[in-house]
């Protein structure tokens, strides 16, 4: 693998913009990148991707709903898109735990997403709670769900829960639903 050259000022600026955030919602809009980096901002993002891939990271673009967009869609099509840096490779359970995630919380999120997926992406909160309480300690479920709503993984629509923009952006729901033949290796 060739050793990357020192990145240009534009690349470093793009990395700063994408990695540091002030607001609750991570990421930078396409038009913001264009304003700071110039009209060739997509080329800068693609070049940045080459550097980030050495670290196991990548820049992705998503729409308002969190659906992934191709970086080849052209700069006009991506001006309203949200650009995010995500992990390129799978986290191990140990890594997730070291980063502060609890196994139970991840399992609760997985179960919620699976149920919502089976129900066209939306279900009454009470029903979701009922299903989760059959599998997890009830004293934990409610607090964890609220936390995932705050983080954007789930969305509250009146009395219902729906798959949030962040789950769509970060989780390959088809992969989550698909029954794997080979169980994942654990560290």
């Amino acid at each position: 693998m060739p050793r990357p050259r020192k990145p240009s000022e534009k690349l470093r600026k793009a990395a700063r913009l994408l990695l540091f955030r002030v607001h609750g919602r991570p990421g930078v809009k396409g038009w913001e990148l264009r304003r700071v980096l110039g009209k060739d901002y997509l080329d800068v993002v693609k070049s940045l991707n080459e550097y980030l891939s050495f670290l196991g990271l990548e820049v992705i673009a998503v729409d308002e709903e969190g659906n992934r967009l191709s970086l080849d869609s052209g700069s006009a099509g991506l001006s309203q898109a949200l650009f995010l840096v995500v992990l390129k490779d799978q986290l191990t359970l140990t890594e997730a735990k070291t980063s502060g995630w609890r196994v139970d919380d991840l399992a609760i999120l997985a179960a919620t997403l699976l149920y919502l997926t089976s129900n066209k992406g939306k279900a009454p909160r009470k029903v979701v709670l009922g299903i989760l309480k059959g599998k997890f300690p009830s004293w934990r479920v409610e607090a964890v769900l609220d936390r995932f709503v705050r983080l954007g993984y789930l969305e509250e629509r009146g009395e219902s829960l729906a798959i949030g923009w962040r789950a769509k952006a970060e989780v390959d729901l088809e992969k989550l639903v698909g029954i794997s033949k080979k169980p994942p290796e654990e560290e």
Partner: protein, 240 residues
Amino acid sequence: MSLTRGRRAEDRVREVLKRVVSVLESGGDPFTLDVVSLFDELREVLLELEDWGLALDAETVRRIAELIKRQEEWVEGRTSTLSLYPFLALVKLASLQPRELALEFLRAWRPVVSLDVLSLSDLFLGLEYLGTRFKPVRPVLLEEVPVFEDYALESLNLPEVIDEAREELLKTLKDEGRVGYLDFVKGDIIKAYAVSLACSEGEASLEIDPLSGEVYVVPPREGEYESIAIIVKVDEHAET
């Protein structure tokens, strides 16, 4: 027609071709490219193309046709699998244990990476918030203290039960270093009271993870004390 215009038109066709080829080679969702707008782009520069440009244009059209075929196959494949998805999701939910669910989730999860920073205006906003939080507190009258009917306190030997819970906490801290507050308390008011007592008497302390908001019970630490309220159990009657 100037040479530059011809070259520019050729570059645009090459750019379209590159995008189409990249989607075809990636094997991903073929609908990430809008075929109509691709043809619009080609149509715009068609009259400016010279011989080599026209050959490039023909190759691009051939590749777009390949993309359309891929889209057709993709729709066919998706229609059959999508009808099974709800069923597969429910089977997985019912059959997997929490740990297996977490592992499955990790396989499909590519979390966002970002670092939190605080702007000066956010800092001032925080200070303003804290300023409004610390107002004089009205003394609580004994009649207002809620009674937890779940616990028949008279029938318990309260000091003994609390001591047991406290000893369990201190042993856990000695063995594991720290323990999640909710993991230890598990909605038990007696245990919550024991933690509170241990903290007040300097035998333990609380630590809040600034990113996750998770509360941990840790061995006593140096520093200034502050009081925090934690929800122990959410039920018909809220208890803290």
